[in-house]
Amino acid sequence: MQKVLLIDDDIELVEMIAEYLKREEFDVSVAHTGHDGLSLLKKDNFSIVVLDIMMPGINGLETLAKIREESLIPVLMLTARGDDSDRIIGLELGADDYVPKPCTPRELTARIKAILRRSQNSQNLNDNNRVIEVNQLKLWPGKRQAFWFDEELQLTSSEFNLLEVLIKNAGKLVTKTQLSEEGLGHPLARFERSIDVHISRIRNKLEAINHSSAPIKTVHGQGYLLIIE
């Protein structure tokens, strides 16, 4: 069973989400504050965190930042619908994806499953040793590891998936729609900026290792392209 950690201050809502997820065969733990969430996270091994960004106290964004200091565990944010700024900040802090509130439990479960499906190590042993290599970039999709100039990249699940899509299509333009569907597992929403935020985080991580510019090119208004040298 997949372990889900729910962090949200709305007690009744959390109760219902937990019940729903349990019926969908998840093992659910709940926390009502960022603090509780962080300490639970240290004690146990979770597959995914569902985090409400709009919490009082040490709020969701701070909690997210603290989580990212320690691990690359997949994080799904709950954001206010229509509030772009919180969502973008959350993605910049390294959240994997978001679901706008209010949402139906079905939408939420679908998002969780999409992230989990894509963040697991492949069960297929053949896949385990498969390497994709372009220039100095090496990807082991099975082990979910990526190297750039022989140094391991610390990528979140979404970042890894997006990079995988790009490297598989190296030298070709990949549209944002394709990136969203293949990398994040859901269709591109209108004015989706999350792809751009993820890509810019990947770029920063590449540039941190090697100062020459990252090999990902933006094709304005259309998509991205991994350059083959």
């Binding site: 709305d10 809502l13 619908r81 139906t104 079905r106």
Partner: protein, 441 residues
């Protein structure tokens, strides 16, 4: 803008000039009629040269003619005094002691006729000549130097005073137009703050008023925003509960679907209200992205086309074959245009035509035409008001709107310095909406 200054300036200047000239003239007049204190009796031989014509006139033509003659200007003044009552013919004042002097001298001066006496019609007259005191004699009829000086001085003071009065008003005017544009947190110019007069008080009153106004409007929008926001939590719980219920009872769920639909509708309403309050909150919070209009409108049109098929309607799109870029908030502009297209789709009989053009004055022009019945002419001016639905929607069965769409569209275009126009095609053959947005240059 400087109109006020010039008004003040000329009023003050003219007032000063009038005063100066008035007082000047008065002084001049009085000086010319004041008693001859500094006048010297002219006892020289030349005096008779001035006296003789007067004596002649008095003898031959009488008093009236003499008066006329005396009024003429000469380099010397001839006085004609009636001895009986010590009155001068023209009424000019002569000091008594001066007359005594004349009387004394009259005996000695008879030789050269510098003082003469004469009797006419029973009046005894004494005639003598006086020097005009030199400053008076040299003075020109129009005193040019003092006048020019006074005029220049008045110009200067009129300028200073007009500035003093008009500057604060100009500043205040600019401040107030800021308030009009929606900036309620005005800071006063130091020139206004340091004034202790009514203008200074007026300025600080205006500042107080506008900050109060700002706070009121602020709290109003905040309230709308908070209410909308707060409604979301229970709505989320409601949706969650419905989902849970659906998960538990598999089977007939007509009512469940209805509840879910209504939840979505409330969510939509809250979303529109939040957008509206964001727009009310001010232009300052909007994103400023560069937007290609063509792909944006194509997406809207494609979505509408997809929906139109099931309604047996047709959406056609005419794009311009060049880059059309505007600056602004993509999601707001998308919503603004989409709402107009959706309205058209809802009200059209069969056809919707979307056209993108450029106007000669560098604006993007998006027109959306449908072949529906249009809006009653008397209602067109109201359709941008929040929650206004025209009478045509009551008849349409599939109308589900809140009447917020065009309010958002209108405010969005306003925030982007754009314009929106509505018109009915003739004979109820359709409705046309024109949107204008300034192009990025």
């Amino acid at each position: 803008m400087y109109k006020l200054f010039w008004k003040f300036f000329f009023t003050i200047w003219i007032a000063q000039l009038t005063t100066i000239w008035g007082i000047g003239t008065a002084i001049w007049y009085i000086r010319h009629h004041e008693p001859l204190t500094e006048v010297n009796l002219d006892l020289s031989n030349g005096a008779s040269f001035y006296l003789d014509p007067v004596v002649d006139t008095l003898k031959t033509q009488g008093v009236v003619a003499t008066e006329e003659y005396l009024k003429k200007r000469f380099r010397r003044i001839v006085y004609v005094v009636d001895i009986n009552n010590n009155k001068e013919l023209l009424g000019r004042k002569i000091p008594i002691d001066f007359l005594e002097l004349v009387n004394q001298k009259s005996h000695t001066s008879l030789l050269n006729n510098a003082i003469q006496s004469l009797s006419v019609d029973g009046h005894h007259y004494l005639l003598f000549v006086a020097d005009i005191p030199s400053p008076w004699r040299n003075r020109p009829l129009i005193p040019v130097v003092p006048l020019v000086g006074a005029t220049l001085a008045s110009l200067l003071f009129a300028f200073i005073l007009a500035r003093h009065l008009s500057r604060p008003i100009e500043i205040l005017k600019q401040t107030i137009s800021q308030v009009g544009a929606g900036h309620f947190n005005i800071s006063l110019h130091p020139q206004l703050v340091n004034r202790n007069d009514s203008l200074g008080e007026l300025a600080s009153d205006i500042q107080n008023m506008s900050s109060r106004l700002g706070k009121l409007i602020d709290s109003q929008t905040k309230l709308l925003h908070t209410i909308s926001h707060e409604l979301r939590s229970p709505l989320t719980r409601l949706q969650m509960a419905t989902g849970l219920l659906r998960q538990k009872m598999i089977g007939n769920d007509d009512e469940m679907s209805r509840i879910e639909r209504e939840c979505k509708r409330i969510d939509l309403l809250i979303g529109e209200l939040l957008t509206l309050s964001k727009l009310d909150d001010g232009i300052n919070h909007l994103n400023e992205e560069i937007i290609d209009l063509n792909p944006l409108i194509r997406e809207i049109s494609d979505n509408a086309s997809f929906e139109a098929k099931s309604l047996n309607k047709l959406v056609s799109l005419n794009l311009l074959n060049e880059f059309i870029q505007v600056k602004g908030d993509t999601s707001l502009l998308y919503y603004a245009i989409e709402n107009v297209v959706r309205n058209a789709l809802r009200h059209a009989r069969t056809n919707i035509v979307i056209t993108v053009m450029k106007t000669p004055n560098e604006k993007a022009h998006i027109s959306v035409i449908d072949d529906g019945e249009g809006v009653d002419d008397s209602e067109i001016m109201h359709i941008t008001q929040p929650f206004f639905r025209a009478s045509n929607t009551l008849k349409a069965s599939n109308s589900q709107g809140f009447g917020l769409g065009l309010a958002i569209t209108y405010k969005t275009l306003q925030a982007h310095n754009g314009e929106i126009q509505f018109s009915n095609l003739s004979d109820k053959q359709g409705f046309k909406v024109d949107l204008y947005l300034p192009l990025l240059t």
